[in-house]
């Protein structure tokens, strides 16, 4: 007897897909989870330096909305060159020379401190564009894509703008940037659950441990997805066992996945049998949110 696919009554929650190591299959999994979902779902592409979820979904995007950050601008006629702003700035974004005050807005973290501290009100806030967000629909999936402008070094403001589009009425899947630094932390922060996608290689294991340490610091519940599970070695499996981390799904290394990918097709186009497994995965996580065990 063949099991009927589970009815997905997934509770609205924020599910972040992160990894540590790049290229392990975050977007592949995020898109496949969204496609497997039976009810409307929101997919937030927070990999704003290289957003690519849309390549597999091809939605029609709305008009681009600019994302700006607040940076100081100076009125030199009011500046007394006291240098208090430069002393205050923890990011070396302001230089006070005896006759000139220079602002390097690309280093500014928008704390606003310099503007408050300026005794002559020579500094005011101005909006600097750093990226864009777009919104599109593809069947039951609402996709929000953030794109950092070329030449900008700091992606968190754009990631935060994408995450502001979160609607608590829907299951929200967050496709996170790789690594474990500010962009990844900004993307996973406030998630109800994080799936760490890794591969069973020494490199995959190394970056997985960094991601695990990061999520433990952030006190976020998480599980591991082992992609291309039949390559490499036993390192990741042994590590997860030692650390009592649940491997929630194993995805085989299949040539047809790569072939599909190269044609802009997703995981479920190549391996449709995975769909009920992904639905069960969503159910398990959903139930864990209501006190169930992983």
């Amino acid at each position: 007897m063949r099991l009927s696919p589970p009815q997905t009554t997934v509770q609205p929650m924020k599910l972040a897909i992160a990894s540590g190591k790049g290229g392990t299959g975050k977007t592949t999994l995020a898109v496949a989870l969204a496609q497997a979902c039976l009810s409307p779902v929101h997919l937030l592409d927070c990999d704003v330096e290289e957003p690519n979820s849309h390549l597999f979904l091809t939605p029609h995007f709305s008009k681009k909305q600019p994302v700006t950050v607040a940076v100081p601008q100076i009125d030199e006629t009011l500046c007394s060159h006291c240098g208090q702003c430069a002393d205050f700035c923890q990011f070396n974004a302001i230089v006070a020379l005896p006759k000139q005050t220079m602002i390097f807005s690309e280093l500014c973290h928008s704390c606003g401190g310099c503007i408050r501290i300026c005794p002559t009100n020579a500094l005011t806030e101005t909006d600097k564009p750093v990226g864009t967000i777009e919104r599109g629909q593809c069947d039951h999936i609402t996709l929000v894509k953030g794109t950092l402008d070329v030449g900008q070094a700091m992606s968190p403001p754009v990631i935060r703008a994408v995450k502001k589009q979160h609607d608590p009425k829907y299951l929200t899947i967050i496709d996170c940037p790789p690594g474990t630094s500010c962009p990844m932390i900004t993307a996973v922060r406030d998630a109800d659950f994080v799936l760490l996608v890794t591969e069973p290689t020494p490199f995959g294991l190394h970056d997985l441990t960094l991601a695990v340490e990061t999520l433990r610091q952030l006190k976020l519940p998480f599980g591991v997805i082992l992609n291309r599970c039949d390559i490499g070695d036993q390192g990741v499996v042994n590590y997860c066992h030692q650390e009592s981390i649940t491997i929630m799904l194993q995805i085989p290394d299949a040539r047809q996945v790569a072939v599909a990918y190269s044609r802009g097709k997703g995981l479920l186009d190549a391996l449709p049998d995975l769909k009920p497994q992904l639905q069960r995965l969503l159910n398990t996580i959903s139930q864990s949110q209501q006190g169930g065990q992983i």
Partner: protein, 120 residues
């Protein structure tokens, strides 16, 4: 005239540090008085960002009008230029060699940053 060098040592025999922002220290040589002072640049060694800017600010306060170093990035260049410091990129091994090259007019002032900025 005060001439600033980036260095890891504290005499003119010391090596020229090719880095500007994250140079260990500056040696400021006064060519009129024939004496020198050492200015520490340690606060920048571990700065996450803006080391060049901070080093340039430190250097501007020394009164040096000439900087001899290996490389100078775009933000440091902007600050130093605004403060009227002339930058002479130099490949010499020691400060003595670099000073000799400068005195013999073998070095030329750069009109732009010698390399791109670094990002974290």
């Amino acid at each position: 005239m005060k001439i600033a060098f980036t260095t890891t040592g504290d005499t003119l025999d010391a090596e020229l540090d090719p880095r500007f922002g994250r140079a260990n220290r500056f040696l400021i040589y006064d060519s009129d008085q024939k004496n020198l002072v050492i200015i520490d640049n340690n606060q920048n060694l571990n700065a996450a960002q803006g080391a060049g800017i901070q080093a340039a600010t430190t250097l501007c306060k020394t009164g040096a009008t000439v900087l001899i170093t290996g490389h100078c990035g775009p933000k440091a260049f902007k600050v130093l230029t605004a403060a009227g410091v002339k930058i002479y990129p130099c490949k010499a091994k020691t400060l003595t060699e670099a000073l000799a090259q400068f005195n013999n007019h073998e070095l030329s002032e750069t009109r732009e940053a010698t390399n791109e900025g670094h990002w974290i």
